[in-house]
């Protein structure tokens, strides 16, 4: 069953076609990697999905329902969670409060919120820093905090925009394990440049180039695909 799909989804910025006529289907329960060279339109595409960016044309369906005209907060309310490529945490608030803001839309009560927050922070290895200000964290740890904020929403669809950027090798290993664990209950759309992450966690891969879908298939197929290789080498 399809959880998310788009039809003819397009976005242009002052003449530049960032996303062009994309038809995309994401089955429930899948871990999908979205890859493509810099400027391919990946961030713009997921921004269109969750309503952060208004499309020039086209439709988005979530759980069989046309959500093209819903504002972002309503789409999030339906069970999408979005983490930013450029970390966008509440810098002057504590890690705890950052995650609590994400959790409180779903659970109420001090004790229940605390349990959710500490659970989410523990999963990304930041439970020990709960009282620190988010702005004091290193870039990599802010990315982990972003992920914890996504987890605390217990979303049906988790959209992650380059979550492993700035993480250490050990943290990347932890991240892969986390995604595998999460994939049992959550559909995941993952923008990722790190090929080892893509190869190890993704069920399917979509390759975006110049705002269009260039190819789709298993990680192995994409790895072997000549067109994809060419796009990455800049000759495509």
């Amino acid at each position: 069953m399809t959880l998310l799909s788009t039809r003819g989804l397009s976005k242009s910025f002052a003449g530049l076609q960032a996303v062009h006529e994309v038809d995309f289907d994401l089955p429930k329960g899948e871990v999908r990697a979205l890859i493509g060279p810099n400027g391919a339109g990946k961030t713009t595409f997921v921004g269109l999905l969750c309503g952060r960016i208004a499309p020039s044309s086209g439709q988005v369906f979530f759980d069989g329902r046309d959500i093209s005209h819903l504002p972002a907060h309503k789409r999030i309310g339906l069970g999408m969670a979005y983490t930013f490529q450029i970390t966008s945490v509440f810098g002057r608030l504590s890690l705890f409060e950052n995650v609590a803001l994400a959790a409180r839309r779903r659970v109420q009560g001090t004790a229940a919120v605390r349990a959710e927050v500490m659970g989410a922070l523990a999963k990304v290895g930041l439970a020990g820093a709960a009282e620190r200000a988010a702005g004091d964290l290193s870039y990599g740890h802010q990315r982990l905090l972003e992920i914890a904020m996504g987890l605390a929403q217990a979303p049906r669809l988790l959209i992650l925009d380059e979550p492993t950027q700035g993480l250490s090798d050990a943290e990347i290993t932890g991240f892969k394990a986390l995604i595998r664990e999460l994939s049992a209950t959550t559909t995941i759309l993952l923008i990722e440049h790190n090929m080892s992450v893509v190869m190890e966690v993704a069920d399917q891969v979509t390759v975006l180039n110049f705002g269009e879908i260039l190819a789709e298939g298993t990680p192995e197929e994409m790895h072997a695909n000549a067109q994809v290789q060419a796009a990455y080498l800049g000759t495509g």
Binding site: C50, R52, P71, A72, H73, I76, G77, Y82, F84, S88, V89, F90, G91, R92, L93, E97, A100, L101, A102, R104, R105, Q108, M149, Q153
Partner: protein
């Protein structure tokens, strides 16, 4: 001691202190403090929007005046008793803040400041235009007989002080509850990073509108009580001066702190009071003090205390 206990102790302690002070203060300062508590309630209202939701309004005189004229007109022309007058003031502030919120929140940043400034200017001009009823600059003077509430004569200093303290306590405890509740945390989140708050699924517009309405109603309540306690309802209170005052009080005391508005109002009131006793250039003294504070305590007095000593301050 938990943060919660410390918070209750501090804010409760301030209220108890203010209660006790009325028995020891000389008449002059007794009268001043009553006025300061009412003006601080206005500043508390301002702080909900500016300090917590991050919305800089330059038109809060409109809300203060809406409450004040709501009461003043109802009492002077409608023959209302003080309670009905206060309700009229609250209703007026509520209506005005909903309207201003719905329109002004379509903008943000500098445009929001300009739009609120313009709305307040419209309010000020309306007060002058309808001079037949408002008596313009000259204002409406409420008679002693019109200021008796449940048999209590509010022209008496003791009763007036107590009424001012009651208003202040209500406003202080209301904001304390507000900012400790999830609602207040969302306002802070919007102030810190609006886009992120939206992408966590919060309806940012609705929260901002709620902040404007709460802020407007508290400010209007303060305006209505001011008119009732001091017996004067005049156009000055609708002028741009009364839009700038709460901004200054809150900046000095500490935006986004529960006690800041009171501390800022108290500080500025006495700064002007004391310097005007020494020199006719008192506004210069006040100005220099303000500049120094802005340079050395940019978070305001209570804000600096929070940064340096009491990190738990709400």
């Amino acid at each position: 001691m938990s943060d919660r206990a410390k918070t209750l102790l501090l804010h409760g302690g301030v209220l108890v202190l203010l209660f006790a002070l009325q028995f020891v203060l000389p008449a002059y300062h007794h009268g001043n403090l009553a006025r300061i508590m009412v003006l601080a309630s206005f500043a508390i209202g301002y702080n909900v929007m500016f300090g917590y939701a991050g919305l800089l309004s330059l038109g809060h005189a409109l809300f203060f005046a809406a409450g004040m004229y709501g009461l003043g007109l109802a009492v002077a022309h409608g023959g209302a008793d003080p309670v009905s007058g206060l309700l009229a003031g609250i209703a007026a502030a509520l209506a005005v803040s909903v309207a201003v919120g719905l329109l002004a929140l379509r903008t943000s940043g500098v445009a929001f400041m300009i739009v609120t400034l313009m709305f307040a200017q419209v309010g000020y001009l309306a007060v002058l235009y309808f001079g037949t009823y408002t008596r313009g600059d000259e204002g409406i003077v409420l008679q002693q007989a019109q200021r008796v509430l449940w048999g209590i004569d509010l022209t008496q200093p003791g009763a007036r002080y107590f009424a001012a303290l009651l208003l202040f306590a209500v406003c202080l405890l209301a904001t304390l509850g507000l900012v400790r509740a999830p609602f207040g945390k969302v306002l802070i989140a919007i102030r810190e990073n609006e886009e992120r708050a939206r992408m966590l699924g919060y309806d940012v517009f609705r929260y901002k509108l709620a902040a404007v309405v709460i802020s407007g109603v508290l400010s209007g309540l303060a305006g209505a009580v001011y008119g009732l306690l001091f017996g004067f309802v005049g156009a000055t209170f609708a002028s741009v001066q009364y839009s700038i005052f709460p901004l200054l009080w809150v900046l000095l005391g500490g935006a986004g702190t529960v006690l800041g508005p009171f501390v800022g109002t108290l500080f500025m009131f006495y700064l002007i009071d004391l310097s005007s006793a020494v020199t006719s250039a008192y506004m210069l003294v006040a100005g220099v003090a303000l500049v120094l504070l802005t340079l050395f305590a940019p978070q305001g007095l209570v804000g600096e205390i929070r940064n340096r000593i009491w990190r738990w301050l709400p």
